[in-house]
Symmetry: C2
Subunit: 238 residues, 2 copies
């Protein structure tokens, strides 16, 4: 049972000696010195996961977009703004050693093709902003060699399971956690969450709960899958 | 001398019985359910002005975009997200009675022409977002009949005075406060500010200081100009 699994794994410090890198929050993509494109990510899920990983004994690097949250004790926080900065920080953290990469950040898919050096003056009644695709951070990390265990997230408003399984394969993730952001009572700005977690050959629903509890359950599932891939971790000394 | 003027005006409760409406913070313009365009306004200047107006005896309505600031005591706060919502709230506040309108909000000049009902899926390497012009809130209020005393703001990165005087005339403002947001040590996210305030026939530089002091000096200048336009306010009973 999940609650018992979670309790057991935390009791034995199941991530002791492991290095976990977590991305969190939104990215902001500059249009000019004052304007940007962003999204409603609060960063709460990523920060809760950082806390849970610390409690499980891990060394945690938290690569954070602009949020209004305190850094959990013992977490090494790296502040970034744009997707390009978040990718660079993630690759640097990977180079320094990373056993598990958890990508909760709501990275902007696109950024303005050009960033104006001066504030853009109001012009005609209609303008267009040209956007170019940002790098896919979690896919880049998941396709690195050597690679850590990779947990991705999907925030969908429809066809949740289909998109989640397609992302798991396309990006070569080990696990994907998926919540339906069209539900008003959970998700982005909320303190609660509910999600379904998919991996190859299985899934687990996590009922609505506060993000701290969801985070501990997620970490327990990660450790379970990580030990299935690499049995050595199951013998991690407590 | 400005400091003395400021001290005197606050001592006599120079806005007692007056209704002040202040807009503050950024607006967010939705692209889809999770993405938006916004800007770096922290709302600090507007909130400091709300506090200063309360101290000067006014009844204050603070129409606020999404910010992370506590509401000053005795201020009536109205939360809004988009420019269209901020305009509607401003017009409602005007209909309820408004002697002075202070437009500190960094209102998005443009909003996406269409808001997608579902999260937009990642598509090709490049996309464009079509934007349409938002209503000009401060100009709309300044051109209403009857109209309050109107203080506008300009955040420019170049040709500061030229733009400020052109805005004062084009929008029919009574006063405009202008800071150079290209200075890294003041402005949007900072606790300090420095600005130059322009009105027809004069201007006043406000040296770098914390936003609370700048706010009191600005309110003092507003009262001075308001009393020049409408001498009755100079005889406001203390």
């Amino acid at each position: 049972e999940l609650a018992q699994l979670s309790a057991n794994l935390f009791a034995v410090g199941s991530l002791t000696g492991k290095r976990v890198v977590i991305t969190a929050g939104p990215t902001r993509e500059a249009i000019d010195p004052v304007r940007y494109i962003s999204n409603h990510s609060s960063g709460k899920m990523g920060y809760a996961l950082a806390q849970a990983c610390i409690e499980a004994g891990a060394h945690v690097t938290l690569i954070s977009g602009p949020v209004h949250l305190p850094t959990p004790d013992r977490v090494q926080r790296v502040n970034v703004t744009s997707a390009l900065q978040m990718l660079a920080a993630s690759q640097q953290a990977l180079a320094e050693g990373c056993d598990m990469f958890i990508a909760t950040a709501a990275v902007a898919d696109y950024r303005p093709a050009a960033v104006a050096e001066q504030k853009i003056k109001k012009q005609g009644d209609e303008i267009v902003i040209e956007l170019v695709k940002n790098p896919d951070i979690v896919a880049t990390i998941a396709q690195s060699t050597p690679r850590p265990f990779v947990l991705g997230f999907a925030a969908e408003t429809q066809y949740v399971e289909n998109y989640a399984r397609a992302k798991l394969e396309a990006k070569k993730l080990d696990m994907i956690a998926c919540n339906d952001v069209s539900r008003a009572d959970i998700g982005f700005q909320s303190d609660d969450n509910a999600m379904t977690v998919f991996w190859r050959g299985g899934y687990q629903k996590l009922d609505k709960a506060n993000k701290s509890l969801i985070a501990r359950q997620l970490v327990a599932l990660c450790v379970q899958q990580l030990s299935a891939i690499n049995p050595a971790i199951a013998h991690n000394p407590s």
